[in-house]
């Protein structure tokens, strides 16, 4: 008989090992799934994990990993601060959209003027847009005690309607023959978030993501606010006695995650995407939640997890084209990753014991 026994102390070893074990379990279960679909499981797993990094066309895919991973890491870092303190921002997707709209709006307003200060202004506007959108659930929670999970999630759908409205109306490209979508910012030099070194995928969003990782690490380990965040999450009552102001903490955590999500949106709309369009958002805000947990809410962990998620996306698309795996199988594969992580997480706090229960 197998029983779960609570550990006196959470196991440090398991805490570090679970992400790796989860990845391995996903490979096994995913391989089984691919085998049932009649594909060579080893080849499928190899295509997903190996091909983008070391395959024949890795020179193209490696930069794409940065492009795909940067917004995930940037958003997930912001989310992790709140998650650590038990403040659940589920609406990063909406903040991402609003950041893109504010930032692109500033850029488009200057068109066709070319000046060095346009892009910095767009960055500020992008962060502001995300902050504004995240401050709504924060304020409502502080003032009226509403549930930030619901409010932030619902605001995603409101943001999507704004996005559609902007693509069809105010920001529509006047030279676009009536089709929806803004001008392409890639063709507007002052607003274009180009690769800093051509062909490397290293745009300002990647730089911002790396800075955010360092910033979060310092904040959590060396700063009073970071201590308050951790304390509130681990021992809410103790935090109260220690004089943590919960309202300020809510405004700070939601506000910061909003700013980072907004910046991610701005860097995406002015760079890889280039355009405000109805289908601009592709779910980074939601995937970042997985990334945050996969990275154990730790800045360095999130960096690695963002890279891993990006890898499964890019490798997944290659597997679709090369092996004709259905895209739903790839999505199941990605879902397994979170599932196994949460399942193995149990081992951090519990241990398996075999044999008969001891009589107390």
């Amino acid at each position: 008989m197998i029983r779960l026994e609570k550990r006196p102390q959470p196991s440090k070893a398991w805490s570090l090992a679970t992400p790796l074990v989860a990845v391995l379990a996903t490979m096994l279960a995913g391989g089984l799934l691919f085998a049932i679909l009649g594909k060579d499981p080893v080849e499928a797993i190899r295509t997903i994990f190996w091909e983008p990094l070391f395959g024949e066309f890795a020179f193209y895919y490696r930069p794409q990993l940065l492009v795909k991973g940067a917004p995930l890491v940037l958003i997930a870092i912001g989310l992790s601060l709140g998650f650590k303190a038990g403040i659940w921002n589920i609406g990063a997707e909406g903040q991402y959209i609003m950041g893109a709209l504010f930032g692109a709006g500033v850029g488009l307003a200057f068109y066709p003027l070319e000046a060095w200060y346009i892009f910095p202004l767009m960055v500020i506007a992008g962060g502001f847009g995300g902050w504004l959108w995240a401050s709504i659930p924060a304020y409502l929670k502080v003032r009226f005690g509403t549930n930030e999970i619901l409010v932030s999630l619902m605001l995603v759908y409101v943001a999507e309607q704004f996005l559609a409205s902007m693509s069809l109306g105010l920001m529509k490209n006047p030279e676009g023959f009536g089709f929806p979508g803004s001008r392409n910012l890639q063709q507007y030099e002052s607003a274009y978030n180009a690769d800093l070194i051509a062909g490397t995928g290293m745009h300002w969003g990647v730089v911002a993501a790396l800075i955010a990782v360092i910033f979060a690490y310092v904040l959590l380990n060396r700063h009073m606010t970071g201590y308050h965040i951790r304390l509130t999450g681990e021992a809410p009552r103790a935090a109260k006695f220690a004089g943590v102001n919960p309202s300020r903490l809510i405004l700070f955590c939601l506000g910061t995650s909003g700013i980072l999500a907004g910046l991610a949106g701005l860097f995406e709309v002015s760079g890889p995407s280039g355009q405000v369009s109805i289908d601009f958002n592709v779910g980074y805000g939601f995937t970042a939640i997985i990334v945050a947990f996969l990275g154990r809410l730790h800045p360095v962990g999130i960096l690695l997890a963002g890279g891993l998620m990006a890898l499964t996306y890019i490798g997944g698309d290659i597997a679709q084209a090369n092996l004709q795996l259905p895209s739903s199988a790839i999505q199941v594969f990605q879902g397994m990753l979170l599932f196994f992580l949460l399942a193995f997480d149990l081992l951090t706090n519990f241990r398996l014991s075999f044999g008969k229960p001891e009589v107390a």
Partner: protein
């Protein structure tokens, strides 16, 4: 001696390479915005892909990637296909326009075909679309005859010229056979979302619509109409025959197969050039699905006559006199619409109520 050796081996290598090229199948890539099992838009493109395989057998190799988001993901997937040796790539959603042109600029030897767009920045990009509005004219005629409440519900996807053209065409022809007809339009802001489409259909039915026209891709509105009872629908993009003979009384079918086969052949023969194709019923790109027995024989005959007139070019779906919604004149008596105006159509014709969302 050494040099000759080198040359010989080079020549041999070249010979081998040419032989390899001759036997190498033409690789054709397809990028889809939805799942191949959507039963509508993407499904029909995939049928076209299968037709290419059936036509050329071993001489082609096709690959596809489904559920590709518009934007950077599309650009990556298209690049990936080009890198892996595709000779011809079909990108089948409007939002792939800039990504397609961006990749085309980097791969001058690969041919690109973008559906429903207007940008052909380089010599290796073609665009193609179908004159779905011709099918809408036939639909409008049947809808005008069949409605008893005189309310026709219309599920729009996005307020872009293609969709607005369809609404106008359906309305003009419904009005022609039934002056009392009224159109209620709901915008779903999606191409494929069964839940949203079903909601839109239910709202329209509650408002008294007994005919539902849809410009979205799923069969959810068909199911909603079936549940409601006395409502008729038309298959969109695909035949959706499983909902016949009622509620589905007919359909507009996108038939990409002839075009895909012709373009693949052109690449094989080396005769491919950059073109802008906009074909309708006549060329077979737009098909009208079997009109079911739920439609009275004389209505069916009238619809088929209209289809024939559209096919042989004796009638244009936008023939004047037509006035715009704001009351200004558009087409004089007997005048037909030019393709430029149709391509960028952003106004309703007179009689349609409501505004195009901005």
């Amino acid at each position: 001696m050494k040099l000759t050796n080198l040359l010989t081996s080079a020549a041999m290598a070249l010979g081998l390479a040419t032989a390899a090229v001759a036997e190498d199948p033409t690789k054709v890539g397809f990028v889809y915005v939805g799942p191949v099992g959507d039963g509508g838009w993407t499904y029909e493109h995939d049928q076209g892909r299968k037709a290419v395989v059936a036509e050329f057998g071993d001489k082609v190799e096709t690959v596809y990637v489904e559920n590709v988001a518009e934007g950077p993901d599309a650009e990556r997937v298209i690049t990936q296909m080009a890198l892996q040796g595709a000779d011809l790539i079909f990108t089948t959603s409007f939002g792939y326009m800039d990504p397609t042109n961006n990749v085309a600029a980097k791969f001058p030897d690969v041919k690109f075909e973008h559906a429903t767009g207007y940008k052909r920045n380089t010599e290796n990009v073609s665009t193609y679309s179908a004159r779905f509005y011709e099918g809408r004219a036939v639909q409008g005629t049947i809808a005008g005859h069949m409605t008893e409440s005189n309310i026709v519900g219309y599920i729009g996807s996005y307020p872009i010229p293609e969709v607005i053209r369809g609404i106008n065409s359906a309305y003009i022809h419904a009005k022609k056979v039934n002056p009392d007809v009224e159109f209620k339009i709901v915008w779903a802001f999606t191409w494929f979302d069964p839940a949203k489409e079903a909601d839109a259909a239910k709202v329209l039915i509650e408002q008294g619509a007994d005919v539902i026209l849809q410009h979205t891709d799923s069969t959810a509105p068909q199911a909603a109409a079936q549940a409601a009872g006395n409502v008729i629908t038309f298959g969109q993009a695909s035949d959706m025959a499983e909902y016949g003979p009622k509620p589905r009384v007919s359909s507009i079918i996108d038939d990409w197969a002839p075009y895909y086969i012709a373009r693949t052949k052109a690449v094989m023969d080396g005769t491919w050039t950059s073109t802008d194709t906009w074909d309708g019923i006549g060329a077979g790109m737009v098909g009208i699905g079997e009109i079911s027995d739920a439609v009275p024989a004389e209505v069916k005959a009238e619809a088929l006559a209209l289809k024939a007139a559209l096919a042989d070019g004796s009638y244009h779906a936008f023939t004047g006199p037509i006035t715009k919604q704001d009351g200004s004149a558009w087409l004089a008596d007997g005048e037909t619409a030019d393709d430029g105006t149709l391509a960028g159509m952003n106004f309703y014709v007179e009689g349609i109520e409501g505004d195009i969302p901005q």
